[in-house]
């Protein structure tokens, strides 16, 4: 389906994956706290292979309490799509690919063309739109491709095999394997479903497969990465930020994932 060379997000992730490295993609909320651009830079420097940046939406239906709270605070602090994207343009992330995650109404309101162009102009290289399933992706994806953006798609534990194939055919950047049936949030125990969906995604696609939703500790990341190519770490990082930790705390958490992952897979 992707009749175009992969975008920069996919190119970077594929190259590292093919090089034997496990992929680490932290998520943070744009506009959460005044020093959030510094958090972004610190996280990129601490070993992220790409960084996912949320643009807050008033009705985040797939998010649990942590990211809901972050959305509320970001919006109260005056975060608008325009401001967040402008900050991304000026952040120094040393070439780390940036992926924006937002709900479709934010894109629809701005206009798909305008949003795709403005993301690309700000150096963003991909988008995740969780309420835009593969069946509804076409018009956005055309704009995204034209702007050089990858569009990451989600695959869920309940996705049947035939549908998983269809999703894998449309996704670019990476394939986001949803680890648990449920909203974003920390989980103390790693769900069986995370390994199962990772395995099915790997079978269905040659794209980098990253597991997200519920990945909370470096140890869980290691277990997942025995099957998957990497992990997305969201609520575990956002909770730290909500608790008042700044760039150093964020870098420490991301650094710990990086270190444990690299150690576990260095000889693999």
């Amino acid at each position: 389906m992707t009749e175009r060379p992969p975008g920069r997000l996919e190119a970077v992730l594929r190259a590292r994956r093919d090089n034997g490295q496990k992929l680490l993609v932290p998520y943070l909320m744009g506009g959460l706290g005044e020093e959030w651009p510094a958090v972004l830079e610190a996280v990129a420097a601490a070993g992220a292979d790409a960084v996912e940046v949320g643009i807050a939406f008033s009705d985040p239906m797939i998010d649990g309490q942590t990211i809901q709270e972050a959305s509320v605070r970001a919006l109260a602090g005056g975060a608008t799509p325009e401001r967040v994207v402008a900050s991304l343009a000026s952040a120094d992330v040393g070439g780390t690919p940036l992926v924006v995650m937002t709900y479709y109404n934010i894109i629809a309101r701005a206009g798909e063309h305008r949003m795709a162009q403005s993301l690309a102009e700000s150096g963003v290289s991909g988008a995740i739109v969780p309420d835009l399933p593969a069946d509804e992706i076409d018009s956005w994806q055309a704009e995204a491709f034209a702007a050089g953006l990858d569009t990451v798609l989600l695959a869920a534990p309940t996705t049947p095999d035939a549908r998983l194939k269809m999703i894998a055919g449309k996704a670019s950047g990476f394939l986001y394997a949803v680890g648990v049936m449920g909203v974003t949030g920390e989980r103390t125990k790693l769900a069986e479903s995370a390994l199962e969906i990772a395995r099915r995604c790997k079978e269905a696609s040659d794209l980098p497969v990253l597991v997200g939703v519920g990945v909370t500790t470096p140890e869980q990341a290691v277990t997942i990465c025995r099957v998957a190519d990497g992990v997305v770490v969201g609520s575990a990082l956002v909770r730290r930020l909500l608790d008042g930790e700044g760039p150093d705390g964020a870098a420490e958490l991301v650094g710990s994932f990086r270190k444990v992952l690299d150690a576990a897979f260095s000889t693999a």
Partner: protein
Amino acid sequence: MTALGDLMREPSPSGRFGEYGGRFVPESLVPACQELERAFRLAWADPSFRGELDHLLRTYGGRPTPVTECHRLSEELGLRILLKREDLNHTGSHKLNNVIGQALLARRMGKSRLVAETGAGQHGVATATAAALFGMECTVYMGAVDVARQELNVFRMNLLGATVRPVESGSKTLKDAINETLRDWVATVETTHYCLGSVMGPHPYPFLVRELQRVVGEEARSQCRQVLGDADPDIVVACVGGGSNAAGTFAGFVDSGARLVGVEAAGGAAMGHGIPGVVHGMRSKFLQDEEGQILEAESISAGLDYPGIGPEHAQLGDAGRAEYGQASDEEVLAAFRLLARTEGILPALEPCHGLAWIVREAGRSIPRGSAVLLTMSGRGDKDVALVLEHSR
């Protein structure tokens, strides 16, 4: 643009009503929506399902509900007013029609638990009732603001064995209750059916709920003919929150010559002031700001306190087949008193929006002597305390 003759039939394969509708949900929920669509289409074509639903609506729900001609009110307004009495349904509103159908469907799909959002509490009470009837578990999400203003309905749901979860996020009203119900459903979809309360949400809900409410309009069409000497009403009016009682009513009259009017709360007028967008699984019209953040609706009636509207109404409005008016809280309270005084009916505040619009338009856009059908979507017991508060 859709030809008028094609309105209120099948949505497109992707669940579109014109440019509205669709299925904008996270991947985790897509298979569940697909399963529901398949199950509904099979059931709807199955005479034994239709027979059982019909039997329950009659013997348990109290259908058919009558059409009442309002002589004293008619005289006062210079119109001929007919009410479709959905307030006489078991549990006091049209919501039961939808819920009995969805609960039957859930049972057929092997689900043992129902979750639902509720605004005024009427849909929550109806869902709790169906869950009790079928021996299912039930959790109802309700905005904390609504929990406070509809205390009695919370107690009713508890008596019926349901768990009511107050929702503290966002505006703490209906839109947030929907978010929270979706969040529950993502985690429980294997055992749980989301019993959505209006003609909204991802495909197939807007279609499914309209079909389950169609009985309102179809009954009313033939009942009106008896009263009006084989004629249809000139105007058909219903209040609109998400739009289910209006959609059910309009479905019976869309191919008639009647003027169709949906009436929104002035503080929640998605047709009046909304902008196309995608929220709660559907493309429709929503109150939203420049950035696409959804605004809070504000109305005296919790059941209409929703910043969006079902996608089929957006289509009907754009196509010019239905028009959408508004009523303010003050007009609604006056309409409540008017109906009580002239007809001995204590109405829910939601359908009072329809009545308030009729009162305002009588002799203006409604010519004197017109026959007007209003769907009395619910009874007022739940609102009496609120009206008392506003009388002080």
